[in-house]
Amino acid sequence: MYAWKHWSSSAGLAAVVLVGMLAAACGASNQSNTSTTVNRSGTITIWHGYEGTYLDAKKAIYDAYMKQYPNVTINLVHKPNLTDAVTAAAGAGQGPDIVAWVDDQIGKWVKLEAIKPMDTWVSKDYMTSQYSQAAVDAATFEGKTYGMPEAVEAITIIYNKKLITSDQIPKTTDDLVSYAKSYSQSHPGAYGVVWNPKDAYFQAPWIYGSGGFYVKADGTVGLNTSGTKAGFNFVASFKGAMPAGVDYGIADTLFKEGKAAMIINGPWSVADYVKAGVDYGYATLPVVTGAGKPASPFVGVKTLMLGAYSTNPALAVDIMKFFTNKDNQTNMVLTTREIPANKLALADPKVQAIPDIAGFGAQVKNGVPLPNTPFMSALWDPVAKALEAVWTGKQSVDAALSDAQSAAEKNVAQLK
């Protein structure tokens, strides 16, 4: 191990010397390009989870960077189990220059020393001038910037235009329940609305919209609050209006087969609905009747984070800036149909003309940031178990949440 490190650092030194000599040799003809202090040469490794059309559109931007700066090589490495890989590499004191993932891992990775702050190379002013506030917050942990936001995502109502018209879409949660109940009565074997009712992420709109919460940055668990209870009661009221065994896959299949008028799902699902030939539209989640506030889904932010063991952080940050700038993001989302975190790109008329972006973009405005505190990992499991116990009728909402509160508090205590 030590020998390997020793060898690689001396190889690195040799490379730096070599590049220095090359730079000196070229220097005479390249005097004008001194406006920036970034030395644009070297190799940057990016670990990512991009797939399909997403990958092609993103790769094109990195290729453009390499074309502009031929001394830079960008290695895009697809990691199937990225979160595990990053954790394992950090344990060995290794890792890529850039990790492209969702912001909810930031708190954990900071504590595991897998990513490092980049305030030296990018100012807070730059961040707020480029990206939407929710995205800047998502990339900030304990006051420091750990990444540059790329795209945001949240769940919203996607409806089948053949089964429901836009003016029929319920505007309040009470209306949504009664619509779903009457729909399944008048259309046996079909459903008014479906989603995964046993997962914490998918219930966030109702819980946060009712004034409840899962966990705060200081570790306070909010499962026994009246808002969280109201959210749980709302979910439980769909028993009988959704299939008893419904989960993510079943909800998805029902919508694709035209057996559900509406689904609550995220941008990642849309390509499959296009493929399945569903004529779909978007609507924002309804207003929570008791609270009078719109339902607030979690807003996840895909973020390029700076790896803790990057040996060339200035170059890595320069690539992030290039990748997330207005022009590149505008071009990218025309293909990927993601909602850009770059607010200048989002405001572009070409981008606003894309229905998917306008649809999800409207929903994101009502959302709350997906918590990036490591305490959130103490919550997913107890909440899921409590939802299952309520959904299957094994426990009342009060009993389920009281058990989940103590289980989550026990978990949080382990993380403190």
């Binding site: 950090a90 008893a244 103490a378 107890p382 094994k394 989550a408």
Partner: protein
Amino acid sequence: MYRVRALTTVTYLAPMIIGVGLISLYPILYNIFISVTNQNLYHFRHYSFIGLTNYQSLLKTLDADFFIVLARTFAFVAICIPLFLALGMLNALALNHPAIRFKAFWRVALIVPWAVPSYITALVWKFFFNGEFGTFNQLYRVVAGPQAGLPWLSDPNWAFGSIVLANLWMSYPFFMVVILGALQSIPTELYEAAAVDGASAWRRFWAITIPLLRPALLPATVLSAILTFNTLNTAYLITTGGPFVSAAKPGATEFVMVYAFREAFQLFNFGYIAAFAVVIFMMLFGVTLGSLRFSGLVREEAR
């Protein structure tokens, strides 16, 4: 007499010693080392020695929940292994029968369940078991009427049985292959001689086949019992350990590894989970030694 220099001996043994050291010994020792440190989310790179603290807190949290999980896991192993053996034996005997044609085809077809990655198999079974749309209940409805349905995954006992079924499908081919190999190594003269002496097929099976299979079956059984005890994929992917009746109680298919994964891995308590692993390791080691000795005694008596 040859005289072998120590250096020569060591040189010949070196590849194996290095292999065993790197693959088996080092991870075990590293795990034991981590179990006496405070490595966790906040001390990931810079952890320190804390003695037996993890073991103490482990003993403190070894409450009723853990023993329910442990008892359920042993029950799971005790139910699975005889089923693996029986089904594996049945298939191997059938494949070994001279009347069976296209043996190569059947052998490949029957090994497929074992060769398919377990997470794919688990997801397929998850669909089979689904209450509304699953294959099993759709078939059941043909017989029992449109409103009927069996609680494959929603009832705790049924869910336990469903996981046994999925696990059986994934694991019996291993026994089939082991038994088939062993069967083919039994000389046919033994059967012929026994037949000449007037032994029935039933008698030949118990007096020749079973005793000669034992040396192959014993290690396979122990190995498979350990793997079954350590089941994570099958249970986690099909039921995530559920069905759950409360966030404060383990689910009906929450076996030891699922429990460990939930309790400690999601919370990055590496030192604690390493201590947990050491305890489980010692437990399995004890049970394995015990069962080997027990079966050895049984064999001694049979002679």
